[in-house]
Assembly symmetry: C2
Homo-oligomer: 199 residues x 2
């Protein structure tokens, strides 16, 4: 079966529509998806950016929010801009790293995005995240403990290093098994086509 | 009739496929297109960038070239990366500013993009540009003289100021008459839809 890896970061705005769309589109294309959380912070820091480029470049940021609003309207998914932006997604990413080898990982990941960009709520609170784990069918306490082990924290760091090695510089990114990199929610269909035709 | 303004810059890579696609798509949607050259240099300089962000951020640049190659392959238009990048498009933009109120402006603009990103050739030579004006049906000497008048040079500067005032921060950009801004070749279809539905 053809495969793609879906690299996402919880602070990334366009990862939200990608996370909402990918399951249905991948199923229709018969492509298996591996969900991989990583951190953009170290990548942005290495470029000298202390925050999101959407904050650093206001005209670009203004267009992104409007474009995301239009994108969500077209997909008929809720949209509400969270404050502050970017949200601190570190704990959520650690929980997702732990959860994605378990049955509830994908549902949890989608719930985090829905909370953040659908409801405009913060995603840094352990209480909120525990609730989302439980809703997704996981053991909330075990998830928070598992997320904070050294081995799990290291796994997230290594995922970020692996993403960088694959050429990833933003999120969402899609990488096929033959190493082709597609960046952005609007490249999802193309990535799936590539995965199928190179399989 | 519905309308959009197509803001382009000759150094912009994704303006190439946009310039090649826009006439056919706009005609099919019954949208009238106003072609407007502007300069990204002043916009980038104001952000502290001395060159293209695709040069400043190598991973982003590498993906852009590969993505553009894939995009051109899908559109079945030729692609060859010009060296150096970005090309100096100032004289071409001045000629286009002069030419777009004449019959040959659009054909000239497309020919510049084809030369630059289809053939990978330089676009800063007056001789090359004069040839493209003549091929497009214009008077090459008159075009070069007209391009270099103070009033024409000022018109290009004012176009850039107007683009900035509309929120433009990159190219290609599409702006509808009700002020909606769409950025990127991959937003062309959406911009045309918007123009039609808000007409």
């Amino acid at each position: 079966m053809a495969r793609i890896t879906f690299w996402f970061e919880f602070a990334s705005t366009y990862s939200y529509p990608a996370a909402m769309r990918i399951e249905e589109l991948a199923e229709a294309s018969e492509v298996e998806v591996t969900w991989r959380p990583f951190l953009l912070g170290p990548i942005f820091n290495a470029q000298g950016w202390a925050t999101s480029p959407f904050n650093l470049y206001p005209a670009k940021g203004a267009n992104m929010w409007r474009d995301l609003e239009r994108t969500c309207a077209e997909l008929k998914i809720p949209f509400k801009r969270p404050t502050p932006f970017p949200q601190n997604g570190l704990l959520a990413a650690r929980i997702a790293t732990y959860g994605l080898s378990r049955a509830w990982g994908v549902a949890f990941t989608k719930a985090v995005y829905r909370t953040e960009f659908g409801d405009g709520q913060s995603i840094d609170s352990p209480t909120v995240l525990k609730g989302l784990v439980a809703d997704a069918g996981g053991d909330a306490d075990a998830a928070c403990q598992g997320a904070l082990t050294e081995i799990n924290k290291l796994a997230l760091k290594q995922a970020t290093d692996q993403a960088i090695a694959l050429g990833v510089f933003g999120a969402p990114s899609f990488v096929t098994d033959d190493g082709e990199l597609f960046w952005g929610n609007d490249r999802l269909e193309q990535a799936l086509c590539w995965a199928v035709s190179s399989d």
